[in-house]
Every structure is written in C-alpha cells, then in structure tokens.
C-alpha cells in the first residue's frame, strides 16, 4: 500500500489544473459548473464546443492508448484529471458516453475498421454517443430485448425495428449503440447482437420524455427500418450480450473519482448554505452533514482501492458494491440539501419550472437509485454473484 501520489503525478496535476484555468474562461466561463446531473439540457452547443477545445488540448480520452490519440494515462493520472476537472468546475461532459463506454468497448471487442471509423471522432470531440439498451419491456430484465435487427440482403444492411426507451441525450447525439435481437427464435441473452447506428436517418425517430424536473434528458427512440452497415456489427452475430456486459464493466471506470469530486462540490454548497441560513445551528442537520462528509470519504477510499486492481473490464467485488453505495449516499445528500433549504426548498425560480441547483440535485438523486441497475438489482447481484447465494427464480408469464 502506498497512498501518496508520486511527484510526477503531482506535476501532472499542476499541468491539468493550469490548462483548465487557462481555458475554462472567456467564452466558456458561462458553462462552468453547468450541464451536470439534472442540468444536462443547458448550454448544449457551448458544451459541444468545449469538448472540441478539450480535444485540441489533448484532454479527451486520456486513458486511451496513444495509438488512438489518447495519452495512455495511468489510473492515477486519470483520477487526477477527473478530480481537477471537477474542482475547476468543468461542465458536464457530453463526450462521456463515447469516451468511457463506446471507446473502451471498441478497443476491446471492435474490428480494426470500427476503431478507425469511430475512435478519432470521439477523441476529437466531434461525435457524441448514447446508450440504446433499455426498452419498454426490458428494464431490470435487460435480456428481454425485443428490438429486431434484420439482415437486408438486397441493400446489404442491418435494418432495425422496435423501440428503445430512457435513452439519455439521444436528442443531442450522433450515434447510438444498440443491443438488438438478430435471432428471434432465441430468448433471453441468446440471439442478441451489438450494433453501432447513426441517429440521423430515415426510419429512426427520437421523442424526448419529460422528467420529474420538467426537463427532458432522456428519450424514446423508435426504429422502423433504420439501418447500419454490416461493418457496424461489433463482435460476432449473436455475441451481443457478451459485448454489452463488457461495456457495463467499463462503467466502473475512473469517472467515479471525478463524480466524487462533483459530489464534494455539491456537499460544499450544502455546507455553505447551512452556515449562511442558520441551518447549521440545528443539531440534527449538523450530524447529517458530518455523516455526509465521512460517507463521501468512504466512497473515495473504496474507489481508489477498486481502481488499483486489474483493468480487464470484469466486475470486481469492489465495483459491484459501488453503484449501491454511491447512489444511496447521493440520494441522502439530495434530501439533506432540501432540509437545509427548509421552507425555501419548495420555491422554484419563476416560469415555467426552473429548478435551482439544489432542487435539481434533490430530484435527480431520486433517479440515481434506478438507472444503471436499480438498488434492488444491485443487491441481487451482490448476493448472487459476490456471495454465491441461490438465484431468484424467473417467472414464465
């Protein structure tokens, strides 16, 4: 065990911090701290421009190998980058899905041609991606996917029929990776394949879904004959489940540390407010603030430990507990923020439904325990996979 960063790492930290200081200003000053959870719909064009600026500075995809434009950054360096990015108030990353999900998945499972076609644009902050997994009938039971991919022999393309739902940021994206059924005679995770599909085309319609917050971050995506070329099938036909699960393994990635820095920024805001409005004099709130602080520290130590392990995309025990731990912590923080606001918690900023930062935080954290595997599913995974307890029976309705 060795818990300090090396001098070289500290130097890297300075480099990141000073680059961000020099660039997250001027035209980008307005987007500092914006576009995070609950605020994704704001400053989309500016944030896309920011992605390109980041890319020019060499700060997108730093964990990718140098061959693909990355820096081959070590885990420590990626941690540092994410921390400094959050500390500097870097805006919510629109390139996040491409960089942390599509990229690593193509690096692990993609063909040479796919890498060449897609990685450079992700790296350049030019192409934005969304995740097409969930469907109306396939939420927790992801393998119940009904969207079909049919081979069109005449046009030599895969054609898609069906519907995805809850697709975050589809309306701001260029591509969607789609888990679809290529063999309809198969059920469950057999007969699925993983595709890379452009969003702007005939036979594909995106309809935003308004959320509890009054804004629309996620969407329905309807496929009625939209297509992709045979080169856009990732892995073998019928191998989609393995690719899809591999991708979820990458979600454990280093972004968790940056996420915690954002959590820290939110907690600091709650503490500042508590001091300002006198809530900090209430013993019950003081204690909850202390709980929040140590809870966040605990998350950080676990993440550092989890990232110290092998980086093979497989789920480690530590990674398995992480989603449950942070989502509960964050949900509690949302509630704490409201309680610190007190009666002001109810007041939204004028028409039509502008939430303030802490209200967005509160509402958004209601979803934290749902997306990316609900708390109940996470507990099932921990019990069944980590502890080896008997699997729950499936129904056959």
């Amino acid at each position: 065990m060795q818990l300090e960063f090396s001098p070289a790492d500290e130097q890297f930290r300075n480099e990141v911090a000073s680059w961000l200081r020099d660039h997250l200003c001027g035209e980008f000053a307005a987007i500092r701290g914006r576009g995070g959870p609950g605020d994704e719909h704001h400053f989309v064009d500016e944030r896309k421009a920011w992605e390109r600026t980041l890319a020019e500075g060499g700060w997108t995809c730093i964990g990718w190998p140098e061959q693909w434009g990355g820096r081959g950054a070590t885990i420590e360096q990626q941690v540092i980058f994410n921390e400094e990015y959050a500390r500097a108030g870097g805006p919510g990353r629109l390139g996040h899905i491409g960089e942390t999900l599509t990229g690593p998945t193509l690096l692990a499972f993609g063909s040479e041609q796919q890498k060449q076609r897609y990685l450079p644009d992700i790296r350049a902050g030019q192409a934005f991606w969304c995740q097409g997994y969930s469907e109306p009938g396939a939420g927790s039971d992801l393998s119940n996917i009904k969207t079909r991919a049919e081979w069109d022999e005449q046009e030599r393309v895969w054609r898609f029929y069906g519907q995805k739902v809850w697709t975050s940021l589809a309306h701001e994206s260029d591509f969607i990776f789609v888990l679809a059924r290529t063999d309809v005679s198969q059920r469950g995770h057999r007969g699925l394949s993983f595709f890379l599909v452009p969003l702007a085309q005939e036979g594909l319609e995106i309809r935003p879904i308004t959320q509890l917050t009054g804004t629309a971050e996620f969407n329905e995506v309807f496929f009625d004959g939209a297509c992709c070329s045979p080169e856009d099938l990732v892995g073998e036909e019928g191998d989609g489940w393995r690719v899809a699960m591999g991708l979820l393994g990458f979600e454990r990635g280093v972004s968790t540390l940056g996420q915690q820095m954002l959590f820290q920024v939110e907690l600091d805001e709650v503490i500042r407010l508590a001091k300002e409005n006198g809530a900090s004099r209430q013993p019950a709130l003081r204690q909850r603030i202390a709980e929040a602080h140590i809870g966040l520290r605990t998350l950080r130590y676990n993440s550092l430990r989890m990232l110290s392990g092998e980086d093979d995309g497989s789920l480690s025990r530590e990674a398995m507990i992480y989603k449950l731990a942070w989502s509960n912590w964050h949900r509690n923080l949302g509630k704490l923020a409201m309680d610190v606001l007190g009666p002001e918690a109810e007041l939204v900023e004028s028409a039509p439904y502008e939430l303030n930062r802490l209200q967005s935080l509160f509402l958004f954290t209601r979803a934290d325990t749902i997306y990316g595997g609900t708390n109940q599913i996470q507990r099932n995974l921990i019990a069944e996979r980590a502890l080896g307890m008997p699997r729950e029976p499936r129904g056959d309705a």
Binding site: S140, E346, A367, A397
Partner: protein, 360 residues
C-alpha cells in the same frame, strides 16, 4: 379510553371522500396546473353544499359544531386525493381561529360577518403564520389573518401586497405577503396574540400531518397497482420480496403514524393549550412516513417514476412541499426535546402517557 372514531365521524368522512375521489382525479389536478387560479370552482360548490365549510363552527353560530377529530379525517381524505385546494386549511386552521377570536370578544365586530361569509361560500379567509414564508392560494382570499411578532392582524385583501412565487409542486399557488402591522388591523397582541398564533400553528401542523397520511396512502395504492401490472423477468415486479418490502415498510409506518395524528387531534380539541408536544409528534411521524412513501413509490416505478407523465409526482411533490410547511423536522424536534430536557420535565413511568390522562 377509546382510540377509535365513531360511526358518524367515519360516515361523514366517507361521504366527503367519495365526492373527492370522483372529482379530484389526476387528470383534473393536471388540468388545474395550467390555470391561474389552480382551483376547480364547481368542486368548491359541491363541497360547500356538503357543509364542509361549516364543519368546525359551533351550532350557535350556524355551523355543524364538529371538532378537530372530525376534521382530521377529512384532512386525511383531502391528502388521499392530493386535493390542490386549501380546503383542510380553511376548515381546520382559519375557522377555529376565527371562533377563538370571536369568543375572546376581539375583532371589533368584524369576525361574525366573516364567519357567516365562510359558511355560505362568499368569503375566503387564510392564515399566514410567521413560520410559513409563503401563503398558498392567496390570490382570491378576502381576508388574511396574519401574525407578526406576537401580534395577530386581520387584513382585507387590499391591505396586503402579494408577490406570486412558484412552487416545486405545480398544484400550489404560492405568494409572499407583505403587510404593514398597523394598529388599525390589529386583532390581538401580547400574550393573547401569542396564544392565538400558537394555537393556529398547532392546527396548521395537525392539518398538514393528516394530509401527509392521506398522501402516503395514495402513493402506496398507486405503487401496489403498478407493481402488479409491470412485468419483468416473466412475472410482476411486485412478486419480488425486495419490492414488496419497500412498500410494506411504508404501510407499517403509516399505520403507526395514524394514532399519533389522531391523538394530536384529540389534544388540540380538548386541551389545546397542551397540544404542542402532540402536534409536533404528529407532524414528525407523518412527515417521516410521507417522505418514505415518496421515495419508495418512485423506486418501485423504476424510470417511469421519474417522469412527468407518471402520477406519482403529484403526491410526491406535495409531500416535499408540505414537509416544510407549518414547521419543518428541525422545528418540531426542537419543540419535543426542549420540552423533555427542561430541568423540571415530568419524566418517569407514571408520566409515560401524560399526567393523569392521555391528553398530557
């Protein structure tokens, strides 16, 4: 001792609840969101005809002569449909305060006509207690009973300045209220003013607590329904213990909160000067179950629970607003521990249920 409600009390509740269930649907609530007033005037007429606006006025004044125990059941029924209109507040907070003022011979003859007006639906009164920074549905009130310091003021609508403010709950119509606490409008001050304000705070806390119970029940029933209808892994999601337990926990807390609220209503009715503790307990217990209900209801609905379209948001957002109205958790916990920790607090087994009787 009898902790149950009488058949008549339940029957009256059922009658009003029946009307509310048919008239106050999620569609009708959503329809109110896009209107300025946020109210359904036709419903008001029907409620008036049932006598709910006369409920807590004594028979000698032409009212129905019921008390807080009767009213608490109705307030819960209002919560159970997430009724946007401040019926419970008018009935349970404004009416008793008017009677209290009248009985003390205060108000310079202004009170009687106001009471008459409330009972026949011509006059609309609201109470603005200093603990609440905003008043709900203030735009069409005729009179505001407002507190400032230990003074209580009776202000006609044109003597106050209303600035509209938006609530997280699209059903609510908040305003901040400015007024000049002048002698002209003063009804009471000093100890009497403070006592009236304290009584109104307890009535307000009780009213909100009862509504929170109803709102919790509404969310439980919506959730039970959804988890039966929604299938994953080839069976209803409600078949999973993990899901069942989320809702069972709410049901247990809800049943345990009910007698707490009933007891607070009883104390407010028979011994209002001693109701602080009981009301704070009620508000805390009801807020706790309601917050849990909102959280679990969203959880068991999955992503659907996070949408604008899903009706869970109607009750959940009301709960998040009401949790802070008439004193938040910190305020009510303080009232309890300050009382318990005072040097001569009456502690020990002989006082477990209060001195001599339940009402303590």
């Amino acid at each position: 001792m009898d902790f149950t409600f009488t058949a008549e009390q339940l029957e009256f509740r059922d009658t009003v609840a029946g009307l509310l269930k048919t008239e106050v649907t999620s569609d009708s609530i959503r329809a109110r969101w896009s209107t300025d007033s946020g109210k359904d005037p036709a419903l008001q007429e029907q409620l008036l005809a049932m006598g709910v606006y006369s409920l807590l006025f004594p028979e000698s004044l032409g009212g129905l002569g019921m008390d807080a125990i009767d009213a608490v059941l109705l307030a819960e029924a209002c919560g159970a449909v997430a009724l946007p209109e401040p019926l419970a507040e008018t009935m349970m907070v404004a009416s008793p305060l008017l009677v209290d003022i009248l009985n003390r011979g205060l108000g310079n003859g202004a009170i009687q006509p106001i009471i008459d007006g409330v009972m026949d639906g011509r006059v609309n009164v609201a109470v603005l207690h200093p603990i609440n920074p905003y008043l709900n549905f203030a735009a069409d009130v005729d009179w505001i009973l407002a507190g400032s310091g230990d003074g209580l003021y009776l202000l006609p609508r044109d003597a106050v300045n209303l600035t509209p403010a938006k609530s997280l709950d699209p059903s609510r119509r908040l305003s901040s209220v400015e007024f000049d606490p002048s002698a002209e409008h003063r009804v009471a001050g000093g100890e009497v003013g403070a006592a009236l304000l304290r009584a109104s705070l307890n009535l307000g806390g009780l009213t909100v607590a009862a509504q929170l119970l109803g709102l919790s029940e509404l969310l439980v029933s919506q959730s039970v329904q959804y988890t039966q209808d929604r299938n994953q892994f080839g069976r209803p999601v409600g078949a999973n213990q993990a899901v069942k337990h989320l809702l069972a926990d709410v049901a247990v807390q809800l049943e345990y909160a009910r007698p707490v609220v009933a007891r607070a209503a009883y104390t407010v009715g028979v011994s209002p000067e001693r109701a602080d503790f009981a009301v704070s307990h009620a508000k805390l217990a009801a807020t706790r179950v309601a917050q849990l209900a909102a959280r679990q209801a969203i959880q068991v609905h999955g992503a659907m629970g996070y949408t604008w379209e899903c009706d869970v948001q109607i009750a959940a957002k009301r709960i998040w607003a009401l949790s802070y109205e008439w004193g938040d958790e910190g305020f009510h916990k303080n009232r309890i521990h300050e009382w318990l920790l005072q040097p001569n607090a009456l502690l020990g087994p002989e006082y477990t249920f209060g001195r001599r009787s339940l009402v303590g």
